[in-house]
């Protein structure tokens, strides 16, 4: 007997499964999948942007805001000079057209590698409930840019801030239909508490996460 048949067989024996209740069970399962009931959620209403900012900062991210996408490179340059970081970065291909050069930053739109010190990404959406960035992988939005460099800068359009994870799933289902290979939820710089339960930032991923919010609609 295959392991699969053996394992499923023993589960079925434990549950008293027969053909009749399997049919009923499958239709109940499909009904549940169609209904997608939500559990209790904390109230996240009012100003999503303000909540997102507050929660991000609590997670040790830093946050800046600009009015238009065109102003992002200047904001990035300000951050880099304040942090005394080199003005050199890798970015998502979809962000290549921003005026990086005018802001004095040398930006390459390609896959990140381990020698890149700064990765600039956008985001698919962001969660106000926890101050979390949601990044979806695709050829134009590769995962490594938010992971390998020591500093990660994420551009968040204010209109893409949703209240919680349920809203993010709904958005993905509505806009893209299928799930991308990777949906990465990023909540602040990488950290570990493994040694003496003492929190240290910068374990394997970035030491710093800087968020630039773009308030286009306002």
């Amino acid at each position: 007997m295959s392991s699969r048949a053996d394992i499923l067989g023993r589960i079925r024996a434990g549950l008293g499964r027969d053909d009749a209740n399997a049919v009923a069970g499958r239709s109940a399962l499909d009904a549940y999948l169609a209904a997608k009931p939500q559990g209790p959620k904390p109230k996240v209403d009012g100003d999503l942007l303000a909540r997102f900012r507050e929660k991000s900062e609590q997670l040790s991210s830093t946050v800046d805001a600009v009015a238009t996408p065109q102003e992002v490179p200047q904001a990035v340059a300000r951050y880099l000079s304040a942090q005394q970081l080199p003005a050199q970065a890798v970015c998502w291909p979809e962000l290549a057209s921003l005026p990086w050069q005018q802001a004095g930053i040398a930006v390459e739109a390609r896959a990140a590698n381990s020698s890149d010190l700064l990765g600039i990404t956008g985001c698919y959406c962001a969660l106000a409930e926890t101050g979390t960035l949601v990044l979806c992988s695709s050829p134009n939005t590769p995962s490594a840019a938010s992971l390998l460099p020591e500093t990660h800068i994420a551009i968040v359009p204010a209109g893409r801030i949703v209240s919680g994870m349920e809203e993010a799933w709904q958005l993905i289902r509505r806009e893209t239909g299928e799930l991308p290979r990777a949906v990465n939820f990023i909540s602040g710089p990488s950290r570990t508490g493994d040694i003496e339960q003492t929190i240290v930032l910068g374990a394997h991923g970035p030491y710093r996460v800087h968020i630039v919010i773009v308030n286009t609609e306002k």
Binding site: S3, R10, G25, R26, S114, T130, L179, F185, I186, S190
Partner: protein
């Protein structure tokens, strides 16, 4: 060696006792604060409990659904009965893809299977990348002592000495520098490994995805950089929908480390697309039984709700006193005291269900409301039914119960008993305590036994009635 003997060693280990004291309250305090920002933590627990039960009550159907959806996304789904089969499957995949090195994100199933040793024997280098697991690997493959903080038992001084010895670098004395050193040592492994092995916090039936939660970012590295990704996870980890995932993710990090959300949380579906610059070309799921299938639908099925947060051990007075290694297998604390006998055989872990005060500090913090003390009590009953308790204990219990069913004899026995105890307590001065108690020698190892008043309530009450 049994729990009790191991626990005795741990109690005598001065460094360990010091480390346990330092570590304890951090998790407990952080969790207490973190649950406050859910408007209704209890309602969220109820909801999570119900959705875990929903899956377990139709586990075969949900697994079929998951398998179907995972296959549709391009992943391969394999099944393993036990640890040996896990090892065999992983090595087979490795050989098929010419893998020489495998980087690993924390997986308790890998511990159940002893996968690292098997990989090494097969000529494949396993590299643990979770900081804690890495420390254990270079510490001569020491087992973890906590399911989410594997080196809960070690001090930074011990880690510092270990790093200096292994990395041949000057010893560092602060945790920040030690973490940086591990990052620098491990980064080349991330870039050179052909295979990533991870556990899975949840499998989502709706989409055929795995959800992976980490703080360090190693989970993302392991599942982004190598060309092959193998997920090893228990069959009970499946949940229905992404909405259910949202509910559970409100509980898991809060219960585990007291975070409102973990730093990284990835939902991974299928292998990489042709035009993508990163992501694995091949994604495998190994769905593991190893004792789980037989619990489905039975009296211990509630244990399968477990989402491996570790809150039960963080709040357990026994775990806090002896640490995780005393429990002797992969899972320590209250959840381990239930799982170890169920997975490895009752006769192999006779002490564990007994090694609990039944205080239920675990049960009240469990995010999926597993009645851990009740399950321990059921295991104790099973031991008695299977005649696995020591003869002396069974006889003593039977004799006492028989006596308690015969009130006249019981009255006499207790009359004599309390007088004997009072006699033991005589020391000419206070006469208020017994320093060595022969009938219960364990008690007086570390405590006195307070002396009785000298007469039973029954006697005094009868006397009072007479005079009234």
């Amino acid at each position: 060696m049994h729990f009790k003997a191991r626990a005795g060693q741990k109690l005598a280990d001065v460094i360990l006792q010091d480390n346990l004291k330092k570590a304890k309250s951090k998790f407990v305090d952080r969790r207490a604060t973190a649950i406050l920002d859910l408007d209704d933590f209890e309602a969220t627990r109820d909801s999570a409990t119900a959705l875990r039960d929903r899956v377990l009550n139709d586990l075969d159907l949900w697994l079929e659904k998951f398998e179907q959806q995972a296959a549709k996304s391009g992943a391969s789904v394999l099944w393993a009965r036990d640890g040996a089969e896990i090892c065999w499957l992983v090595i087979d995949i490795a050989h098929r893809h010419g893998v020489k090195k495998a980087i690993k994100s924390k997986s308790m199933l890998s511990e159940e299977a002893g996968l690292n040793q098997a990989l090494e024997t097969a000529g494949i280098q396993p590299v643990e990348t979770d900081l804690g697991e890495y420390i254990l690997q270079i510490s001569d493959n020491e087992p973890p002592s906590h399911i989410i903080a594997p080196v809960f038992h070690k001090s930074k001084e011990e880690v510092s000495a270990l790093f200096a010895r292994t990395h041949h670098l000057p010893a560092k004395d602060d945790i920040q520098a030690l973490t940086r050193e591990a990052r620098e040592v491990l980064r080349p492994h991330f870039l050179s490994a052909e295979m990533g092995i991870s556990g899975g916090n949840f499998l989502i039936a709706e989409t055929g995805s795995v959800a992976l939660v980490t703080n360090e970012g190693n989970g993302r590295m392991v599942t982004t950089l190598p060309k092959v990704h193998v997920v090893i996870t228990g069959i009970e980890k499946v949940i229905p929908t992404l909405e259910d995932l949202a509910t559970l993710m409100r509980l898991l990090p809060r219960s585990a480390t007291g975070q409102s959300i973990s730093n990284y949380f990835s939902l991974l579906t299928g292998a990489k697309q042709a035009a993508e610059s990163d992501g694995p070309e091949h994604l495998y799921f190994i769905l593991v039984d190893n004792g789980r299938a037989d619990l489905v639908g039975g009296e211990f099925a509630e244990m399968l709700r477990c989402i491996r947060c570790g809150a039960c051990m963080n709040h357990c007075p026994v775990y806090q006193a002896v640490g995780g290694h005393a429990y002797g297998w992969v899972y320590p604390g209250p959840m381990g005291a239930v799982l170890t006998p169920l997975f490895t055989g009752m006769q192999n872990a006779l002490d564990l269900p007994q090694a609990a005060t039944l205080c239920n500090q675990c049960g009240v913090v469990c995010p999926v409301k597993i009645p851990l003390p009740q399950l321990l009590l059921k295991l104790r009953a099973k031991q008695v039914e299977a005649h696995l308790r020591p003869f002396g204990e069974r006889l003593g219990l039977r004799a006492w119960a028989w006596l308690a069913l015969h009130p006249a004899l019981y009255a006499l026995a207790t009359r004599i008993g309390v007088r004997y105890l009072l006699w033991l307590a005589r020391d000419g001065k206070r006469n208020d305590r017994i320093r060595v108690l022969g009938v219960a020698p364990e008690w007086t190892l570390g405590r006195d036994f307070p002396a009785p008043e000298g007469k039973t309530f029954r006697e005094l009450y009868a006397a009072r009635k007479e005079t009234a």
